[in-house]
């Protein structure tokens, strides 16, 4: 993965930049020694690393605004950062950039149960947003698996999803407003506790813009009352295609489960060996979870089981207790860890129309043989968001490159099947160069034109999302 060469003129001016930043930030918020900037050299896409020139940790919207204004005047690129859990390299710095981390801004500013909203600073972690409203029985719905660590800032930038988004939607469906600082330091308020802000839906385009339009410092989020209960059922099949058909039949029946998770044989075995969740030995496993009162859950699960039986499952296990539910989820939740025990892996994130599931799984299986690299599939089947995990050996010469080529082929397959390159992890640097497979250059021009409006000099996270060739002129202008 190529990154633009650092601009020597910017590197030269590091002392001036530091001097100016010192006038607006306390000492401990300014990190510039290489021994310390190294902590910001990568996100969760660890194959790519580069320490930034400087990292700053502002504590208020005002400080963010001051920093951006100075960087804008100095012509220095800025890479916003939440918790650094991006799997796409979204928070990867360049040598001549300033990392702007919002981790110190993690306060709850307002909770309002009557209006079902919470306003937080953007550095707050996803799980601790729910934590702040839990005692009153509320929660924040989008639940990425990284929720213990990832920040609302990153969730908004990536429009993150989670296991429960089939019912509750992703970040953009639960975001009501933001305070955002533009690259020139201007602070804007967009949306808020009221539903319609008037004018163009700028909030909609800011969510998912991967830190390229502005730095989000505060967010108003929708909170919901927790359902009375939830319970999963585990269904095993001897054929991927039959499992896929079962998913489609459940959805068609009118039931809207909160989650439908799918695992294939390799994943089932890895999880079983790792977590001993008691998974059956079969080709495909579904975990379907429904919510509501006891009676409602019984009713929905009965319907789901009736549908599943029509497809002759090899295993059908309804949870009878909280412990059994936990056990059913245990394997799924440790899937990434379990695959990590087998080897290094690369996690992909393409989405496909649910109806194409059998074809796509078959093709991935064939390609796996061609490349000689095993793949495990675990994904959110209800919405077609796949997470193929390609196993490789990082210490083996050429394996990473082979794995990346294989990954790119799988993502192209997703697009060709009517889907897309990324369902929730974002483009970052990882899928940047595949963008032209999904979009033509005019589609990308139109997207880049939006960035031109927010950040005319292309200083905010400039080398991401768009193929370097497509954005070159703008970045060097």
């Amino acid at each position: 993965m190529e990154m633009p060469a650092p601009d020597p003129k910017i590197l030269e001016r590091k002392p001036q930049l530091l001097a100016r930043l010192r006038t607006v930030l306390p000492d401990d918020a300014l990190i510039h020694d290489i021994s310390e900037t190294r902590a910001y050299e990568c996100d969760a896409l660890t194959a790519y690393r580069c320490p930034p020139m400087v990292a700053v940790l502002p504590a208020s919207t005002q400080e963010v605004s001051d920093v951006l204004r100075i960087c804008h005047e100095e012509g220095v690129p800025v890479v916003p950062r939440g918790s650094g859990t991006s799997l796409a390299g979204g928070a990867l710095p360049t040598e001549d950039s300033v990392i702007l981390g919002v981790a110190r801004m993690n306060d709850v500013l307002e909770t309002d149960y009557d209006n079902r909203i919470i306003r937080v600073q953007s550095g707050r972690t996803n799980l601790s947003v729910s934590g702040a409203v839990e005692e009153r029985g509320f929660f924040y719905a989008p639940d990425p698996s990284s929720q213990l660590a990832c920040a609302i800032a990153g969730n908004i930038a990536m429009n993150s999803g989670g296991a429960h988004c089939l019912k509750y939607g992703v970040t953009t469906n639960n975001l009501l407003g933001v305070t955002m600082v533009m690259m020139d330091g201007t602070v804007v308020e967009i949306g808020g506790a009221h539903l319609d802000a008037g004018g163009l839906d700028l909030l909609g385009v800011i969510c998912g813009s991967e830190g390229q339009l502005g730095v989000v410092t505060e967010a108003t989020l929708r909170i919901l009352h927790k359902p009375e209960g939830a319970r999963p059922v585990l269904i095993g099949f001897d054929d991927n295609a039959v499992a896929g058909q079962c998913v489609s039949d459940i959805i068609k029946s009118g039931i809207l489960p909160v989650a439908i998770e799918f695992m294939d044989r390799l994943c089932i075995q890895a999880c079983e060996n790792f977590a001993h969740a008691g998974y059956p030995d079969c080709e495909a496993l579904l975990i379907v979870e429904v919510e509501g009162s006891q009676a409602e859950i019984d009713h929905q699960l009965a319907k789901i089981i009736e549908i599943a039986r029509r497809h002759n499952p090899v295993e059908l296990r309804e949870s009878g207790s909280a412990e059994e539910s936990a056990k059913i989820w245990l394997g799924r939740k440790s899937a990434f860890g379990a695959m990590g025990q087998l080897n290094d892996y690369m996690c992909l994130d393409g989405t496909i129309p649910v109806s194409e599931l059998p074809m796509v799984l078959r093709r991935i299986g064939e390609m796996s043989k061609e490349y000689g690299l095993p793949v495990g599939n675990v994904f959110h089947a209800g919405d077609g968001n796949m997470h193929p995990l390609i196993l490789f050996d990082a210490n083996k010469q050429g394996d990473l490159e082979k794995c990346e080529a294989f990954g790119a082929d799988i993502l192209r397959l997703c697009v060709d099947a009517g889907g897309c390159l990324t369902g929730e992890h974002g483009v970052g640097i990882e899928k940047r160069d595949l963008m032209l497979h999904q979009y033509n250059s005019e589609d990308l021009e139109t997207q880049m034109a939006v960035k031109d409006v927010f950040d005319p000099q292309w200083l905010l996270n400039p080398a991401k999302v768009f193929p370097l060739g497509s954005s070159a002129q703008r970045r060097s202008a």
Binding site: R116, M158, V170, L195, L202, S293, E296
Partner: protein, 375 residues
Amino acid sequence: MIPEAETELARIVAGLNGPVSIVGGGTRGATGSAPALDMSRLSGIHLYEPGALTLVAAAGTSLAEVESALDAEGQRLAFEPMDHRVLLGTRGEPTIGGVVAANVSGPRRVQAGACRDFLLGVRFVDGRGTVIKNGGRVMKNVTGYDLVKLMAGSWGTLGVLSEVSLKVLPKPEMGITLVWHGCGWTAASKVLCAALASPFEITGAARLPQRNRSPTSKSKTVIRIEGFEDSVKYRVGRLLELFADLKPDRIVTDSDENEAIWSAVRDVTPFRNAVGNVWKTSVKPTDMPLVTGKWEFEHVVDWGGGLIWTLAPEGVDLRLALGGIQGHVSLVRASRDDFERFGRFQPQDETLIRIAHGIRARFDPQGRFNPGLMG
């Protein structure tokens, strides 16, 4: 200009030498005076997969065609788009592109989301006549910027939609409405907010005014619960416990009566032929009594208090009265004079206006589409 295919639409736009008004069914009251670009023949459902909850249709497809296709599979557009013909007295056949362009969403928005939340992908023709696509037909997609949301509610000012893909949802087995008669604004607000803050998945929370201020008619504060029959009955039972101190006056189970109540809320039928301007105010739900209490006018309240339709005499500027309350007021029905005087939409913050103008200038550099709309 009546294109029948996307390529033809692109050719027409590329050849324009003046502004046009984009017209779907012309029912939303936003048709300008420029020559019409009639989209009604760019129609047809391109793909419908009930098992994947997705439908893709040409923008000019009539809403009725979309709804009847969904109905045949027991599905629907969950965002419950309003029919503006009732309030505005417009004629014509609403199109799915018009619904999207105006981000039209009804009572179920409080639970299911707005039109924009169900929009998965768009194809549109920009001001240069170039066909642009964004999003797709899958439910999860974060590939590049989300122009899908930007196009929803942009009233045709950024491009002419040629195709939209939507997430659809199953129709519930049944619905029940709880009705309270004669609640004042504060009491109504308490009922609506308490219901929405419960775990019982309320899919409608509204208040209809008393009819013609007649002393025999009372206002109705209404809560809707939908789903499988057993589940609905259970939740109604729990809500009755929750409202033990403020019991509803009626429990409506009849499906026709339910439909009548919620279409009245959705289409603002109480203001159908009434004299006066109609304003639409969006505020934080608990601020509703502050707004409705301020004006001695008639109001229809939806979204738990978050949406207030007000019938006001001509010449009155409702925005002045919003005072320090955070929110947004737009004028929906008015005389031409009042539209000119007050504008349709409330002016925004300066930076946001600059951004909006910047985006519009890049999508439609020569200002071809719907001049005058959206400022």
